[in-house]
Amino acid sequence: MANIILQIAGGIMLLSLVLSLYRFFSSGTLVNRVIAFDTMTIISISLIAMITHYSGRTIYIDVALIYGLLSFLGVVVVARYLEKSL
């Protein structure tokens, strides 16, 4: 029972990953694409946590730990680049 619910949750996460890809290609300014990139990083952190459950190794959560610590750097650099103060 719990496994089936968790698989449905993983499917919904994949669907939202694909839906946020739509914003990358429509409406051309750079800020919109950076928003899509930011949302995709956040979604993939929880996708990594779900892969931890599917493969049954609890050590995979360390990857999500590293990613949650470092993923905001890219977005901050793009924001400073847009603000012309890098």
């Binding site: 493969s55 049954g56 190794r57 050590i59 995979y60």
Partner: protein, 118 residues
């Protein structure tokens, strides 16, 4: 499962090669090189994958007896781990050269640099 990853990595390598060969802008060529690098890393990791194996880190799941039946091959992973870091160094070196070339001629087009032709 390995087949899909192999096809993906091969197409990625081809896209990167097309980007290196067809673009005129130097920075776009470096982007193509970066894609080529990523595809090559995925290819090497996929070659080391064994169906049904888990990560080669010992804990309660793998146990300590007959470990080699349960884990994947750790050698390609160690090779790729080195290759990623070296790839970052190569990319940074290429970007530094591109910056120097831009300061020399005020242009990023590869057709403006004719001194190296013979």
């Amino acid at each position: 499962m390995e087949t899909i990853a192999l096809i993906t990595s091969f197409v990625l390598i081809l896209i990167g090669l097309y980007g290196i060969l067809s673009q005129k802008n130097i920075l776009k060529m470096i982007v193509g090189f970066s894609l080529f690098d990523t595809g090559l890393h995925v290819l090497i990791v996929t070659v080391g994958y064994i169906r049904g194996g888990t990560a080669p880190i010992l804990d309660q799941v793998t146990g300590t007896s007959n470990v080699s039946d349960k884990i994947v091959d750790p050698i390609p992973q160690a090779l790729v781990l080195t290759a990623i870091v070296i790839g970052l160094g190569v990319t940074a070196l290429m970007l530094a050269y591109a910056l120097k070339m831009y300061q020399e001629k005020q242009s990023l087009d590869i057709r403006d640099f004719k001194e190296l032709k013979w």
